[in-house]
Symmetry: C2
DNA sequence: TTTCATGCAAAATGTTTGCACACGA
DNA sequence: TCGTGTGCAAACATTTTGCATGAAA
């Protein structure tokens, strides 16, 4: 396994689009306008977002091109299944981020301002696998979130 | 070899009851029948449970001793705030376990049978604090769940 | 021309809240 | 007594689903 931890992307053979097309083709699913628009929107930038963000970003502008909430949810599930997006649950709502072509990482979650800060730590995966092996468990993934206060919020909460 | 986590305890000065009473007293909250019944029920055994489990364990109609769902949710929130219970979210629902008088640990979650297996690892907290410090983040806690297949489910899914 | 996908609204889920009454301190 | 707590039902927020229509292949 190559150590790409010090770079911002991971080399991948296919573009997200090629990969999604492949995923759809294998399951006899169709390449529709909606899936096209959503995938482009989602891979426009490296951000954390939720279903509602997409609704907002689609909403007022494209008057004729309205995509229903249900389709957004359905497509997000497909993108997760296709390995393009990673889902995590932050205070009760699903939050998504790029997974394909993006290095493995985890998050610090500021419980005051709700910001998510990414970090990478190679030891963590090693630790995970050690623990899993000790319990005859076959690890397929993990969720690790460090909760606390970011620097800005520490300052804010200890007076001016 | 499993390390019998469920029979270990941490020495604490107060019983859960004393601690809850103290918590309530400080906030001018009252020791009611319902809170009494719920705390006893919750500390009856070391298990993972959710709100619905409590509803079921309280029975259909305890001769007029019915405790409403709302009260159960309200009390669980108090028990978490009081530091007696720890809450984690497993596939969209809140799951609780003892926190007070119970050693720090994390979980392996079998995504096939939904079982939660506890493990302890001292390195993890060290790692957490190292990462937090590197980001000027004040860590107050973390959530770490290793996802995968437990031994039984690995066997089940690779044929007999 | 046959599936499959979409939009809409309704349903499902898990939890919280408003309110009138009940009860603990 | 007085302020909290409770049960109930309704509200909530997010996500899923049933169904008739519309669009890929």
């Amino acid at each position: 396994m190559p150590d790409n931890l010090s770079h911002n992307t991971v080399e991948v053979a296919l573009t997200p689009w090629e990969r999604f097309a492949e995923y759809l083709h294998i399951r006899n699913k169709r390449i529709t306008q909606q899936r096209r628009v959503l995938l482009d929107l989602v891979f426009e930038a490296h951000e954390h977002f939720d279903a509602d963000d997409l609704v907002v970003r689609l909403g007022p502008t494209d008057a004729g091109k309205k995509i229903g909430r249900a389709t957004i949810y359905r497509t997000l599930n497909e993108l997760v299944e296709a390995g393009l997006l990673r889902r995590m649950v932050i205070s009760g709502r699903s939050v998504y981020e790029h997974d394909y072509g993006y290095p493995q990482h985890d998050h610090l979650h500021c419980t005051a301002c709700n910001r998510l800060i990414e970090f990478r730590n190679a030891e963590l995966v090693a630790l995970r696998d050690t623990v899993a092996m000790k319990h005859s468990f076959r690890a397929t993934g993990h969720r690790f979130i460090i909760l606390g206060l970011c620097r800005a919020c520490q300052a804010r909460y200890s007076g001016p």
